[in-house]
């Protein structure tokens, strides 16, 4: 996961939202329910609460619109961009906008919720049978008032269950007419209209007067989309007109004729040839719930994730049984902490065979041997196979003495699991080393020895400062390089060269703290600082030409301000806060997890 630059987040947890307008595609109740469920996705895993308000300024203002809708980031018609949202903050920040040139559904096709009738507001059942014929859309057959209706079971003939479909003849939404139906014809600006119109508006929404004269009464409402309403084209929201004429031929259903992409379309007047009015026929549409849950993630401070299965991945895909991905959970909990759910279960002192693990929100640590009562320090002496020539070269250089910080006595029982972060992490002699303020711990995945330490940095590598920024072991010579501030040290066993300035390596003033190193084959190491990295030729102890380079150019998808960067088990690790991003040698982020639980394997 990623958060926005500066970790933008709300400074309070009791957030409000307000729905400024509704899409004509769905019943207002369906939209409200979808938004409520979308917020619940996030409130279930954080301390955040969401309350809908109906007036005034809410933290999260939600609106539907199309094209340029007032914020300078226009939508692009059907498909393509579906919605966008702004990171937390005042004004437009935190707001979520949905493109109303899309067909908003619950993801599986048009949702036709009925009104009145005898089905209690149930949705249409398509297809349904009426007088022996099968229908897959709302019909006006069997009625003289022109109101479209549908059966809510597979057969009206058998069950006699029905309801009325959305229609401007039945009701309007929004406006100032309390849902009254349209009155046709009506007069607007001196012109008579006998259908809903977009005239007089710049936002493309279809409206009608609810009295015979808008000019006189100023009463109006917005027209709900019929189930046959087209999407996009140049007649958004108008119903298909069947039959219609296209290139001289008559069509009584949606067709892909005239198109290369196979999409179904229809004319919205009786003759496409004459009027050129058209739109796409309804498809599965986009789930307002899924898109809203994604956008609300932005509104809470999450940026796009690189994990394809995550909700915050930028591309839409429909999933039937939605569950929030672990990556999303980690992201939102990074910003706001955990929810009010059950606390993680404390590990039992002595697990028994009968005991079953309690479910908890914590990542499950992998199996770990029980710690011994007295942790045995493992030897950490670095190898000493450097060439004499190199040592002599280095010894000849002038060394600026650096005041060495005298470490305070190290408490061997000091637990690495209580540390919130580490100064440096690196693998030395096959063991991960975690450095923090004069101390270090080791962990060997090979020996399954668990976490060892704390040990004193000064005891193992005399002369180093208490706080080091980065370290790496040269693959060829086994020498260990340490970095602190703008200085570095090279250890062969307990013999040391340094401190020397990192400018001796060719790293200029633009570099601050070296945050980590990645060994790249034999004799090359990448050194990271800020948002850049250098490639060090270890033998000549000089960075290669053409560096620094931007970290994001190659290591895309990891935090650019990682605190620790290290190679472990042939994969690149970038740590920020409590989390790490693991990247394959092919630069694919394949895991995001907790340093504490996944790498340190704390209980």
């Amino acid at each position: 996961f990623l958060t926005f630059e500066g970790d933008l987040k709300w400074d309070h947890t009791d957030l409000t939202y307000r729905v400024l307008n509704y899409s004509p595609d769905l019943d207002r109740a369906v939209i409200d329910d979808a938004f409520m469920r979308a917020f619940k996705v996030w409130s279930d895993v954080t301390p955040l609460t969401f309350t809908q308000i109906y007036s005034g300024e809410a933290d999260i203002m939600i609106m539907f619109g199309s094209g340029e809708h007032g914020d300078g980031y226009p939508f692009d018609g059907k498909d393509g961009l579906l919605a966008h949202a702004f990171p937390p903050g005042a004004g437009v920040q935190g707001d979520a906008h949905f493109d109303d040139d899309e067909l908003w559904t619950l993801g599986t096709g048009i949702e036709v919720k009925t009104r009145y009738g005898n089905a209690g507001g149930a949705s249409c059942h398509f297809p349904f049978v009426f007088e022996g014929r099968s229908y897959s859309r709302c019909i006006t057959e069997g009625r003289t008032d022109g109101l479209p209706w549908c059966a809510t079971t597979a057969s009206y003939d058998t069950d006699k269950r029905y309801g009325f479909c959305p229609s401007e003849l039945l009701y309007t939404y929004g406006g100032n007419s309390d849902g009254s139906p349209c009155v046709f014809p009506f007069v607007f600006d001196g012109t008579s209209y006998d259908a809903c119109t977009t005239d007089g508006r710049s936002d493309g929404y279809r409206w009608c007067s609810t009295t015979a004269s808008f000019d006189r009464d100023k009463k109006y409402g917005f027209c709900p989309n019929r189930d046959t309403a087209v999407v996009g084209g140049n007649s958004q929201g108008d119903p298909c007109v069947f039959p219609f004429t296209f290139l001289g031929q008559s069509y009584s259903a949606c067709t892909s004729a005239g198109r290369q992409d196979g999409k179904l379309w229809c004319a919205t007047t009786a003759s496409y040839d004459d009027d050129k009015k058209w739109g796409f026929c309804p498809d599965r549409g986009y789930s307002i719930f899924l898109v809203a849950a994604h956008e609300f993630g932005h509104a809470l401070g999450l940026d796009h994730s690189s994990v394809r299965e995550a909700l915050m991945y930028p591309m839409y895909s429909y999933v039937e049984d939605f569950q929030l991905h672990a990556d999303d959970i980690k992201g939102i909990q990074y910003l706001y902490g955990r929810g009010s759910g059950p606390e993680p279960t404390a590990p039992a002192p002595v697990p028994t065979e009968e005991s079953e693990p309690e479910p908890s929100g914590e990542p499950e640590p992998t199996e770990e041997p029980e710690p011994s009562e007295e942790p045995e320090p493992v030897p950490t002496e670095a190898g000493s196979t450097s060439t004499t020539e190199e040592q002599e070269e280095e010894e000849e250089e002038e060394v600026t003495p650096e005041p060495t910080v005298q470490p305070s006595p190290v408490d061997p029982s000091r637990d690495a699991c209580t540390e919130r972060s580490f100064d440096a992490i690196t693998e030395i002699n096959g063991e991960l080393h975690f450095f923090k303020n004069g101390k270090y711990w080791t962990r060997s995945s090979f020996w399954k020895s668990g976490l060892q330490g704390a040990f004193s940095i000064a005891d193992t590598w005399p002369g180093l400062p208490a706080i080091i920024d980065a370290a790496f072991q040269d693959v060829l010579t086994k020498r260990v390089f340490f970095f602190a501030g703008r200085h570095f040290w090279v250890f062969s066993g307990k013999s040391v060269l340094g401190p020397r300035g990192i400018e001796k390596l060719g790293i200029g003033k633009e570099a601050g703290r070296i945050s980590g190193a990645l060994q790249r084959g034999r004799g090359k190491v990448l050194l990271f600082s800020g948002e850049s990295y250098w490639r060090l030729d270890v033998k000549v102890q000089r960075v290669d030409k053409g560096y620094p380079r931007a970290t994001d150019d190659v290591f895309t998808g990891v935090p650019l301000d990682a605190r620790n960067v290290f190679l472990y088990q042939d994969k690149y690790h970038f740590c920020q806060g409590s989390f790490y991003w693991r990247m394959t040698p092919h630069y694919q982020v394949d895991r995001v997890g907790y340093v504490k639980y996944d790498i340190l394997q704390c209980p």
């Binding site: 926005f4 630059e5 980031y73 939508f75 692009d76 018609g77 498909d79 393509g80 961009l81 579906l82 919605a83 966008h84 949202a85 899309e102 996009g232 084209g233 140049n234 290139l247 004729a257 005239g258 198109r259 290369q260 992409d261 379309w265 050129k276 058209w278 986009y286 898109v291 994604h294 956008e295 932005h298 940026d303 796009h304 690189s306 994990v307 394809r308 991945y313 930028p314 591309m315 839409y316 931007a550 994001d552 150019d553 895309t556 998808g557 092919h586 630069y587 694919q588 982020v589």
Partner: protein, 89 residues
């Protein structure tokens, strides 16, 4: 069998976007979602810049890292998505 009638193709009003070439689509996509600007700053010609930006996009979105405008990348660019940029503010 009767010979198939030639299919007439129509440019529907309001749908001019369909005439955009793959490369134009890619350049527009990479710029819109924040992949181009950083690569362009380091210049090296339009084609090289496109290749670099494509790699950034492919890595960021978990696609095979080819640096080319392959079918999978184009399909991703045509997929419905959120309008928030992937890179940058």
């Amino acid at each position: 069998p009767l010979p198939e009638r030639p299919r007439a193709l129509v440019t529907f009003p309001g749908e001019l976007a369909s005439a955009v070439s793959d490369v134009e689509l890619a350049e527009s996509y990479l710029q819109r979602f924040g992949y181009t600007s950083a690569a362009e700053r380091r210049s090296g010609g339009r084609r090289a810049a496109l290749g670099r930006a494509l790699r950034r996009m492919q890595r960021r979105l978990g696609l095979p890292d080819t640096g080319r405008l392959d079918a999978g990348t184009l399909a991703t660019m045509r997929a419905p998505r959120c309008g928030v940029p992937d890179v940058g503010r």
